[in-house]
């Protein structure tokens, strides 16, 4: 398989979009199952192609793993050219692998989940395929602009899918919230791209290609790089739900559960992580920006975990957990552990998708119930769901031996020992790990153990999900266990394949890779390779400490939600203000409402009633009226008499000739 076939990867989902989008309604009437065959088949083919290219990439020596496939020119305006092109390197293939793989599983799962839904089946799969197309474009693009197209595309699909059941007002509002929040971030992101273009253009580099930009990054002043990095990061906080723009993600759970699994857990929200990893050259030049990334990541992790502790909606808990885990990834990026952060992206995709899909099975089985206080005892009724979710939970809390353990450990260790790390951040991360264990087991205990608290009516209907839903669960469960073993750290006798695979893309490795591909050398102040492995024993001790914290978290959850189930209520009753603070998510939404939204709303109300209606509309309307009058008057010149037309012709000729003969 040749690398030039990379265009096939995005083309399949696009074909799916076109077929289902244009003819979907007819196909659905004729044969409903054809719709999902097309959609799943498209993503499946993409996955197969990705797999082929991935193994071809593996077959190459590490310093030759860079291929830029320039497909066709897209925009050219003078010296500025942007093409549609795809870049194949370890990072993009790494992302593409799990995006298409997990995406395929979730497509399959969607068949079972959406089959009985009243909405338009083809519309759902069209959006889902469009999302896959955008996401693949995002990760494979070889320039900022094409990536931004994918970036906007995934945002659009997210919006469309959150408000998929748009007849319900709350869903529409949630979609709007996600859209507006993302717009805020995208604005800064776009400003960042423009700054980059303008300032590189000042040096004669009119290009937005990743390799060209990074090779010439040394031309930019350090302050400018910091500003650009921070603007990019602000964009990433919106897409990847970090402080301060995380508020849309929990509300985004209004969409169908497979959507939450695919977009709001496994793939789209990791776009920010991917982007910062892609721009590691720029970030390496700005230690301050790195610190900001790390701090924001750690704080988001802690904040989201603390909120998750009190939530009762099963999907909200998972949503906050996602925010928290994304915080870990940013923490990893911020301390310079790009590979570890991306490894966590991978494992997180497996177990978080699994958790959401499990939750989807539960919700499906309970007839749409999402409140955990009305669940319980589902262990017997839904064994597959229970066991797979249990595995995912152990993975997410970083239980030794499961996928999350290895990836989380990588981040924690780098935070502790890395050049940019600090003990405070490490402490926050470990505390968050304990809280994660607590709230995840709280979820498990409340959902699957004890007696069932649902009404009689609902209880009768509880059933295990169909095969199309459970098979993906099992696949992902296996991945949640074994997926971690590709990145076993060296301190535990592994060889950390992930880090080794990705190393060419990061830091100094990037330099060599570009040179071997014929590009110019990078001249940037790259961070030195992460600090030499001080001592494996320290790492193992820290691992042990973390594991202990996790166990403590599990134990606390066991005590509070299995043994003494009255305690949580008394706790809540004794500390009402604190409990309410957590339950209401630290009042962040309300704060935003007061500080940003209300003033903006009153300003815009004024602009609307005061400026727009009176001044602008008045101007526009009178201008329009003026031109209409002109038109009506002018129309009369078209009198219908052919000789008047001839006169007009003659006058034109006469004026021109007289001007040129006698005036000039």
């Amino acid at each position: 398989m040749k690398f030039d076939l990379v265009w096939l990867i995005p083309i399949f989902p696009l074909a799916g979009v076109l077929i289902n989008g244009l003819l979907g309604r007819r196909i659905e009437q004729k044969n409903k199952s054809l719709v999902h065959w097309i959609a799943c088949g498209a993503v499946g083919l993409s996955f197969v192609v990705t797999l082929g290219l991935f193994f071809k990439l593996l077959g190459l020596p590490a310093d030759k793993r860079l291929y830029d496939f320039a497909w066709f020119p897209w925009i050219s305006s003078g010296v500025f050219h942007v093409g549609v092109g795809y870049q194949i390197d370890p990072l993009s293939m790494f992302m593409c692998m799990f995006v298409t793989g997990v995406g395929f599983l979730i497509h399959v799962y969607s068949i079972g989940y959406m089959w009985h839904d009243e909405g338009s089946y083809s519309r759902y799969f069209t959006y889902l395929n469009l999302f896959m197309f955008s996401m693949i474009t995002l990760v494979l693009a070889d320039n900022f602009l094409l990536m931004f197209l994918g970036w906007e595309g995934v945002g659009l699909c997210s919006y469309l899918l959150i408000s998929y059941w748009f007849s319900d007002l709350a869903n529409a509002v949630a979609g709007k919230k996600a859209f507006v929040t993302n717009r805020v971030g995208d604005f800064f992101f776009a400003v960042g791209i423009l700054l980059l273009l303008v300032h590189l253009g000042a040096h004669g580099i009119w290009s937005l290609n990743f390799s060209v930009v990074f090779a010439h990054a040394n031309l930019l002043s350090p302050h400018l790089v910091t500003i650009i990095c921070l603007l990019f990061f602000l964009g990433c906080t919106a897409k990847s739900a970090q402080i301060p723009l995380y508020i849309w993600l929990p509300d985004a759970m209004a969409g169908p559960t497979p959507v939450s699994a695919l977009i709001h857990a496994a793939t789209m929200v990791t776009a920010g992580v991917y982007f910062i990893a892609r721009c590691n050259v720029l970030y390496s030049m700005s230690p301050f920006a790195m610190e900001v990334v790390a701090t924001v990541g750690a704080l988001s992790a802690l904040l989201a975990a603390s909120i998750a502790v009190t939530q009762n909606d099963i999907k909200k808990v998972l949503a906050y957990s996602t925010v928290s885990q994304l915080g870990y990834m940013f923490l990893g990026l911020g301390v310079g552990a790009f590979a570890a952060g991306l490894f966590h992206v991978l494992t997180h995709a497996f177990f978080k998708a699994l958790l959401f899909m499990g939750a989807g099975c539960v919700i499906h089985g309970m007839g749409g119930e999402q409140d955990m206080r009305n669940m319980g005892g589902l262990r017997k009724r839904m064994p597959v769901t229970f066991y797979t979710m249990m595995i995912a939970t152990l993975a997410v809390i970083g239980f030794p031996g499961f996928a999350g353990f290895f990836s989380k450990d990588g981040i924690l260790w780098e935070t502790f020992s890395g050049a940019h790390g600090s003990y405070i951040l490490w402490l926050i991360a470990v505390l968050t790990a304990a809280m994660t264990a607590f709230y995840m087991f709280r979820l498990i205990f409340m959902t699957f153990f004890n007696e069932c608290r649902a009404s009689e009516e609902v209880q009768k209907h509880i059933h295990e999900a169909p095969k199309t839903m459970t098979v993906p669960l099992m696949v992902l469960a296996a991945l949640s266990i074994f997926g971690g073993y590709i990145g076993v750290p060296e301190s535990l006798g592994g060889s950390n394949l992930v880090e080794r695979f990705l190393r060419p893309v990061f830091g100094l490795g990037k330099d060599k890779l570009l040179q071997s591909a014929g590009g110019p050398g990078l001249i940037h102040r790259a961070v030195s390779e992460t600090a030499a492995h001080q001592s494996f024993s320290t790492e193992i001790q820290l691992m042990f400490l973390t594991a202990m914290m996790v166990l403590a978290g599990i134990f606390a959850a066991y005590m509070l939600y299995m043994k003494k189930r009255s305690v949580p209520e008394t706790l809540a009753a004794n500390n009402p203000s604190f409990y309410r603070l957590l339950l209401n998510k630290w009042y962040v939404d309300e704060l935003y409402e007061k500080v940003f939204i209300n003033p903006l709303r009153s300003i815009s109300f004024f602009l609307w009633k005061g400026i727009d209606v009176v001044v602008i509309d008045g101007m526009v309307n009178s201008t329009a009226a003026f031109f209409m009058k002109c038109g009506s008057a002018w129309k009369a010149s078209q009198s219908g008499y052919v000789q008047r037309y001839a006169v007009s012709f003659l006058v034109g000729v006469f004026v021109l000739i007289a001007y040129y003969m006698y005036v000039r």
């Binding site: 003659l650 006469f654 003969m661």
Partner: protein, 167 residues
């Protein structure tokens, strides 16, 4: 002598042209037009272009004008109501405009000196306008245009037959 001939023939052409637009009867207009064609033919002869002069008489005066007169007869258009015509003549704004324009053009163009001569003149003045020269041009250099003229005439016939056909 030459100038006198030019003035006589040119005056005849101009007079015929004016009479074309001034006569009330359409048939008269057409006949004055024939006169104009003949006067032009004499002018062509004075310019040593015998072949063109012959064509002018045969094709223009002979064929096209007869065709037009035939059409006038067929449509039975002797007397068109020309009241507005008189009125607009009296109002005179067009006349004023046009006399002005004619003066300007005649002064500006007609009486301005000729250009530098073209450098393609091995032929003597006497041979200019002979059928040899023209035929050579038509069938050697102008073959593409000549062929396209045939296409154009075919198209014109097809279109005219379709439009005028009674069905």
């Amino acid at each position: 002598m030459g100038l006198l001939a030019i003035i006589i023939c040119g005056g005849a052409a101009l007079a015929c042209a004016l009479l074309v637009i001034l006569s009330r009867n359409t048939v008269h207009s057409a006949l004055w037009m024939v006169g104009n064609c003949l006067a032009l033919a004499v002018l062509f002869l004075l310019l040593n272009s015998q072949f063109i002069a012959i064509l002018q008489v045969i094709v223009y005066a002979g064929a096209i004008m007869m065709f037009i007169i035939y059409a006038i007869m067929m449509l039975n258009l002797r007397e068109a109501g020309e009241d507005e015509f008189r009125k607009s003549l009296l109002s005179g704004r067009f006349i004023v405009l046009f006399l002005f324009m004619i003066c300007l053009l005649a002064l500006g163009l007609g009486l301005s000196p000729m250009a530098l001569k073209g450098e393609m003149g091995p032929h003597s003045l006497a041979k200019f306008g002979e059928v040899n020269l023209i035929a050579n041009y038509i069938f050697v250099q102008g073959i593409a245009a000549f062929e396209l003229v045939s296409v154009m005439l075919t198209a014109a016939v097809v279109g005219a037959v379709f439009l005028a056909r009674r069905d």
